[in-house]
């Protein structure tokens, strides 16, 4: 949206107008680790309560969303924002067994691999 008014002549009332766009989204810092059994994703989700976490896995995409509230330091108004991050997950993950845990503002998502893609130790028997 553009306006022909210069900032100095702008009506101050405009500053209190409602925003049409959706609430702010932030990108959390993440760690992605892997071992033979699982993928492990850690995401910084400060200010998110357990009920504010929304995790979806569809079409091999993992969507992480954490809705949080804080207070705008200047206006004192309650501000709602989302931590949002998505990952394309390689095949071989057992979607049924994905688990997540939120602790001290860090989300921990564990994506176990299917048994078929796990490395197996084959015991060599003596002949």
């Amino acid at each position: 949206m553009t306006t022909t008014n210069s900032p100095s002549t702008r009506n101050p009332a405009e500053d209190s107008a409602e925003r049409i766009q959706q609430r702010q989204t932030l990108t959390p810092a993440v760690d992605v680790f892997e071992n033979a059994e699982e993928l492990l994703i850690l995401a910084d989700f400060p200010a998110v309560k357990q009920e504010g976490v929304d995790i979806r896995f569809e079409k091999n995409t993992l969507n992480l969303r954490g809705t949080a509230q804080t207070v705008h330091p200047r206006t004192g108004a309650e501000v709602t924002f989302d931590w949002v991050r998505s990952f394309a997950i390689p095949g071989g993950v057992n979607a049924e067994k994905i688990t997540a845990e939120l602790k001290h503002g860090v989300l921990r998502v564990t994506l176990p691999k299917h048994d078929s893609v796990r490395p197996r130790q084959i015991t060599v028997r003596a002949g």
Partner: protein, 146 residues
């Protein structure tokens, strides 16, 4: 009691600085998160009878954070360890280990006995009650006798 003008100036300068920092914090909320940011994000609020300092400290609990008040200087410090769990290979490692120490000069006297700090869901809140002489007071305006 009248406040000296130098105090008022100092407080205004501090408020300006706070405002600049807050603006930066909230600009940061618009960003894509790729630019390096101060860690932790800290905001300061004056709620009349108290100051509230809020820091986003994901991964930290009460025992990982130290809050110190020395006269009117508040210092927050702590350390977050974000190490790779043993036996895992690393695809991304953005959650760096952090050691921080940040100090703020408070613009008004606070009651050192009435400072509380909590860490909930990775958010540190320090509430500092202002000293009695710094509390805002309402002055009744009496109508002059005719």
């Amino acid at each position: 009691m009248w406040t000296r003008y130098s105090d008022v100036d100092g407080a205004l300068a501090w408020m300006d600085e706070v405002r600049r920092r807050m603006d930066r914090v909230f600009e940061g909320m618009d960003g894509d998160g790729q630019e390096p940011q101060e860690w932790p994000r800290i905001t300061l609020r004056d709620v009349g009878n108290a100051f509230i300092v809020r820091a986003m400290v994901p991964g930290l609990s009460e025992k990982d954070v130290k809050v110190m008040l020395n006269q009117d200087v508040l210092t927050l410090s702590g350390e977050r360890k974000a190490e790779v769990p043993p036996g895992y290979s690393v695809h991304r490692h953005e959650r760096a280990s952090q050691r921080f120490s940040r100090s703020f000069a408070l613009p008004a006297k606070v009651d050192p006995e009435a400072v509380t700090a909590t860490v909930i869901n990775g958010v540190l809140d320090v509430t500092l009650q202002k000293a009695r002489e710094s509390q805002p007071r309402q002055i009744n305006v009496r109508a002059a006798e005719a």
